[in-house]
């Protein structure tokens, strides 16, 4: 790394099923302006813009960056558009961070978004291309067998997923931006919700959301002079692996394990279980919390569910997970990864509001995508690395 990088501004939109009150440019501007306001900067301070979203078909646009260029203040500037499947919100931020750590730029704006109401993501995911087999079941249909395998391997109690969903849905009430807030949500309500893709129930699934998330990044000297406390980047990691082949373990993917190891190495983390205070990880279906806790090294293989069961991952637990309510409460697909990063950044900045973890000094952001094969991660610290 030539330069250290700090997140000095974070902005999120209100997430909702249909943000028909704004156009697509309006949605991105809402997040970007909040991030700029947080950083006390204006559009003209930004040198380059890096944007990301999931497939263009989710909005029915090709190269949306062309159309959005002036709305996001990118005219006359470098504008890069990243797309790495569901992990894209995280990867986009990682690419933006590299613009700073390479020393090429001093101030970069990064935005990720999805406006699912413009089209239909379920349809977009189940197209049947010529000469290929389509699973015709959306993401839940793809991930349910992986979860079933996890349950079989770990002997996790069948209600683990319900407990994750209950926790995240309760946390969402403390997040002003969260899409899905169910009043007085109960264990029974989730348990009795319809089974969509066995073992995934309706209330164990993420919603379809419109929304955008933005961050302003700067180099070391500028981050030290920023009005609000920066979140320092201690490490970033990305790994990808093929979708299907015989030796691949899609339940506990090697790409996820390698990315986590790389991240900890960069950040000088010896024991993540002791040194990382809280994390925002990509959990679109409840069971992915225990699964990723194992992949990330927070629990031994087959033991991840115990962290949920024992309340370790609760807001008042010893290692809270998805304090914001996570993807289960807001899922603007292409932005969902960046939301994790933004929420983790705000934790170490002490600016997470009602869901702030007292004294959070190291927070992890995580996103995954494709068939559990793309991983992006970041580790933020409250002090310069």
């Amino acid at each position: 790394m030539t330069q250290r990088c700090g997140v000095i501004g974070v902005g999120q939109t209100k997430y909702d099923a249909k943000r028909i009150d704004v156009s697509m440019p309006g949605l991105l501007r809402e997040a970007a302006l909040r991030a700029l306001e947080d950083a006390e900067l204006t559009w003209s301070d930004i040198e380059a813009v890096v944007i990301g979203k999931a497939p263009d078909m989710f909005e029915g646009m090709m190269y949306p960056e062309n159309y959005l260029a002036d709305a996001i203040g990118a005219t006359g500037k470098p504008l890069l558009r990243v797309h790495t499947a569901g992990s894209v919100g995280g990867s986009t931020a990682n690419v933006a961070i590299s613009m700073i750590t390479s020393g090429i730029h001093d101030r970069v704006l990064t935005i990720a978004w999805e406006k699912q109401s413009e089209s239909n993501a379920m349809w977009g995911l189940t197209l049947s291309p010529p000469f290929s087999v389509s699973v015709v079941a959306g993401a839940g249909g793809f991930f349910a067998p992986l979860i079933r395998t996890y349950i079989r391997r770990s002997n996790a109690p069948e209600d683990t997923g319900i407990r994750v969903a209950l926790k995240d849905r309760q946390n969402a009430h403390k997040n002003p931006y969260a899409h899905l807030k169910i009043d007085d949500i109960t264990f029974d309500q989730i348990a009795n919700s319809p089974m969509l893709w066995d073992p995934i129930r309706y209330l164990e699934s993420c919603p379809s959301s419109d929304g955008a998330c933005a961050m302003v990044l700067t180099n070391e000297s500028l981050a030290e002079r920023t009005p609000r406390k920066p979140a320092w980047v201690h490490g970033t990691a990305m790994r990808s692996e093929p979708t299907q082949f015989a030796r691949r373990d899609a339940v506990n993917p090697m790409a996820g394990r390698l990315a986590a190891q790389d991240l900890y190495k960069q950040a000088g983390i010896q024991d993540p279980r002791k040194e990382i205070d809280c994390m925002e990880i990509y959990v679109p279906f409840s069971w992915f919390e225990p699964m990723w806790m194992e992949t990330m090294g927070f629990a031994d293989e087959g033991e991840g569910w115990k962290l949920t069961y024992e309340g370790v991952t609760a807001l008042d637990g010893s290692r809270p997970v998805n304090m914001s309510g996570g993807v289960l409460s807001s899922n603007p697909i292409g932005a969902s990864g960046m939301c994790r990063y933004a929420e983790a950044a705000n934790q170490v900045r002490g600016l997470a509001g009602e869901h702030q973890i007292d004294g959070a000094r190291k927070a992890l952001g995580h996103a995954y995508g494709g068939g559990s094969q793309y991983f992006s991660m970041v580790l933020f610290g409250d002090t310069r690395p």
């Binding site: 990243v82 390479s102 093929p242």
Partner: protein, 349 residues
């Protein structure tokens, strides 16, 4: 800045491919990796560019991981842009010091559909896209603006096409080539006035793959590394009514930031899918009259969407490596009427 060199490049472009994208990519990736002198697992980073709209399915790039080798898991990223921007991302990654080499690839197969029509999807989705103006027509409006402003003539456009098709005769990857006179071309009918077929891109199906390596390692790997000396990209506003269509300011800015004018250019490889765009770009780049433009034939000879920009950069690198020049500007452009532009300055060792 770390010195980064293009050490290997391979391509495939044909008018109509029978194979799917993965089948197209596999042999070309193999050729480029073998040509680099590195083993696959010695290449630190992988980055690609493609568009889901060409395959007609979301996450279409995911399957390409199988063709380029991704086990054990790799450090990898993808831009939904021309591969030239994937090269930019990889170059930035190398500048961070985290990696020292990268595999860059891009692919496009447009023959199954009407690509000029599909590209209407890049317009304002609320006001422009529902009218479905195809890209040939939008480019025709740009050409007409240039004609009416007296910036170009139809004869000059035909001269551009004439030269491109002649240059293409020595390019085995060109899908349109031939020896014509300007008069012959001007006698042909319009496709979209004032554009004739030869003024429009020679759409092709293809892939491009490149390997870049930083510093001394590049010198060990090849006799004449081709160094990236400057690299930049910029974008203009989207609304066609806001832009002066006779100009492409973001191309001029990108070339300036890349340092194109700092020294003499021996030749340029530029992405000008429509003949009048080459004439605009010549002015934006301030090219001297003796600078050869598109020895490959450019997009009028072979134009694989999502891949043509990286293809121009690769063509320029191959030419320099073979002693066909010492310093060149390579350019990629995308978007309606070339809204977004990228410039790379390449120098031989």
């Amino acid at each position: 800045m770390r010195d980064v060199a293009i050490v290997s490049f391979a391509q495939s472009n044909v008018a109509v491919e029978d194979r799917n994208e993965i089948e197209m990519l596999l042999p070309v990736a193999k050729e480029a990796i073998e040509g680099s002198g590195l083993a696959r697992d010695e290449i630190d980073f992988t980055c690609s560019g493609s568009s889901d709209w060409l395959q007609g399915q979301p996450f279409a790039f995911v399957m390409a991981l199988d063709a380029v080798g991704s086990w054990p898991p790799i450090k990898e990223s993808h831009v939904e842009q021309d591969g030239a921007w994937a090269l930019y991302e990889a170059w930035v990654k190398i500048q961070t010091g985290e990696v020292g080499s990268a595999l860059i690839y891009s692919f496009g197969k447009t023959s199954p559909g009407d690509i000029a029509q599909v590209q209407a999807l890049q317009l304002d989705p609320y006001c422009g896209q529902p009218l479905w103006p195809d890209l040939d027509s939008l480019s025709g409006i740009q050409a007409r603006s240039c004609l009416e402003a007296g910036v170009v003539t139809e004869k000059q456009m035909a001269e551009v096409a004439c030269q491109a098709l002649r240059n293409a005769q020595s390019n085995p990857h060109a899908v349109r080539k031939g020896d014509y006179t300007v008069e012959e071309l001007l006698a042909k009918p319009y496709r979209v006035s004032p554009l004739r077929d030869h003024d429009c891109p020679a759409n092709s199906d293809g892939v491009t793959v490149m390997v870049v390596v930083a510093g001394d390692r590049a010198k060990q790997l090849c006799d004449r590394p081709v160094w990236i000396r400057g690299f930049d990209h910029r974008i203009d506003p989207p609304a066609l009514g806001v832009r002066d269509l006779t100009r492409i300011p973001s191309a001029a800015l990108a070339a300036e930031k890349a340092g194109a004018a700092d020294d003499k250019l021996d030749f340029v490889e530029i992405t000008a899918p429509y003949s009048h765009q080459e004439l605009i770009l010549r002015k934006e780049f301030g090219l001297a009259d003796d600078v050869q433009v598109n020895p490959s034939g450019g997009s009028l000879a072979a134009h694989t969407l999502m891949s043509c920009g990286l293809n121009r950069i690769g063509d320029a690198a191959v030419r320099i490596a073979a002693g066909g020049g010492d310093r060149a500007l390579a350019h990629a452009g995308q978007g309606p009427c070339l809204q977004q532009n990228l410039a790379v300055v390449l120098e031989g060792d």
